[in-house]
């Protein structure tokens, strides 16, 4: 399974060099274009920042109050049965509704357990394969006035669950507990 970690190391350098070589071959001013794209990131950050601050504050409050720990204690017996860390359950639920709110929880978990802990790694892997199901569905279907969504929700939930289970075992096998 170690070859997967090689993918981790090579992916970004490969994409970056591929894009730069392609840009050179096409004869565009790659550095100017890079700057143009980099500039746009400032706009993206400015829209994210107030949201992120608001949510990190809210997650900070709920963490400091001890509510999350109480919730985790409550769920501990269940998680011992299925060996899945309960700390991630609020995140999994919130993830289907709002990506910014779930991001607040992710950062909180990184802070509590560290990004290189089992939980930290599992969260990192999981975030890549789960999506804001309810949010995405409502935005996409509402934009064209569709009311009956048929099997979309079932499919999305099944894919999400498969992603969570896969993340759990992959993290376990590659990095260990």
């Amino acid at each position: 399974m170690k070859w997967i970690l090689y993918i981790s190391d090579f992916m970004i350098p490969l994409i970056v060099s591929g894009v730069i070589i392609y840009g050179l071959l096409k004869g565009i001013n790659i550095f100017d274009v890079f700057i143009e794209g980099a500039k746009e990131s400032v706009k993206v950050i400015l829209t994210i920042m107030p949201t992120l601050i608001g949510l990190m504050m809210a997650v900070g409050i709920i963490r400091a109050s001890g509510s999350l720990n109480m919730f985790e204690l409550l769920l501990k017996p269940i998680s011992n049965l299925i060996t899945f860390p309960v700390e991630l359950i609020p995140l999994i639920v919130l993830r289907t509704i709002s990506s910014s709110a779930s991001l607040g929880l992710v950062l909180d978990l990184f802070k509590q357990y560290g990004p290189d802990s089992f939980i930290g790694r599992l969260v990192s892997v999981m975030m890549g394969c789960t999506e804001t199901i309810f949010y995405t569905m409502s935005v996409y279907f509402m934009s064209v006035g569709i009311k009956k969504t048929r099997y979309t929700l079932a499919g999305a939930l099944i894919a999400n669950l498969a992603g969570i289970i896969a993340s759990f075992y992959i993290t376990l096998f590659i990095f260990g507990k």
Binding site: I7, I30, V33, L107, F110, G114, G120, R150, G155, I174
Partner: protein, 193 residues
């Protein structure tokens, strides 16, 4: 929705703190977390600028267009009801490529255009077509090569190797997408019969 989640977190936190005697901590954390939000954004800004710059080169050099053409055969398999060369195909391709490259914010506009184009092909206007269901299920399961944001956050919180999760993420997201496609295909067949 976010209104309620946000209010719920803050109010629950404050009420519980009243009973656990952690009101002082709540106050301090609220202030410290707000400041931390700014720090996280600065770290993210660096990574995002780097990635969006590179992706701009991919866009301007025509590489992204090339990729959207290259995935046509996959689209024909996933969405057999879309006539070849229809606008919907182009928008879906752009949406999928944006997701794969971790350009989440760039995926929604072509995604909505794809829905509009699919609605033109749709016979029952208030009901999702098979193609729409498949598109959304695949979109939500989101195959992603790189999630630059996660790497930036991991770095911010002191990971020794922030990018080590890329490979495992690709594997996990591939599995969830395969499950999504199998489910979509099974439902499509059942609805035809």
């Amino acid at each position: 929705m976010l209104n309620y989640i946000w209010a719920f977190m803050i109010l629950l936190g404050i009420i519980v703190a009243a009973f656990t005697g952690k009101m002082g901590e709540v106050t301090n954390t609220a202030i410290a977390s707000s400041a931390e939000g700014v720090e996280v954004c600065f770290r993210l800004l660096g990574v995002l600028a780097f990635w969006m710059g590179i992706m701009k080169i991919a866009e301007k050099s025509g590489l992204i267009n090339l990729l959207t053409l290259k995935i046509r055969p996959i689209l024909r398999f996933l969405f057999p009801d879309i006539p070849d060369g229809h606008d919907a195909q182009k928008y879906i391709a752009t949406n999928i490529i944006a997701n794969v490259l971790g350009l989440g914010w760039g995926a929604t506009p072509p995604g909505l255009l794809a829905m509009k184009a699919l609605q033109e092909l749709n016979l029952k206007k208030d009901e999702a077509s098979n193609t729409m269901c498949m598109f959304l299920i695949v979109n939500i399961s989101s195959v992603q090569l790189i999630s630059v944001n996660i790497i930036a956050y991991r770095a911010q919180y002191g990971s020794r190797n922030p990018s080590e999760v890329i490979g495992p993420s690709i594997l996990a997201t591939t599995i969830s997408t395969i499950v999504a496609i199998i489910f979509g295909k099974l439902m499509e067949r059942r609805n035809k019969a």
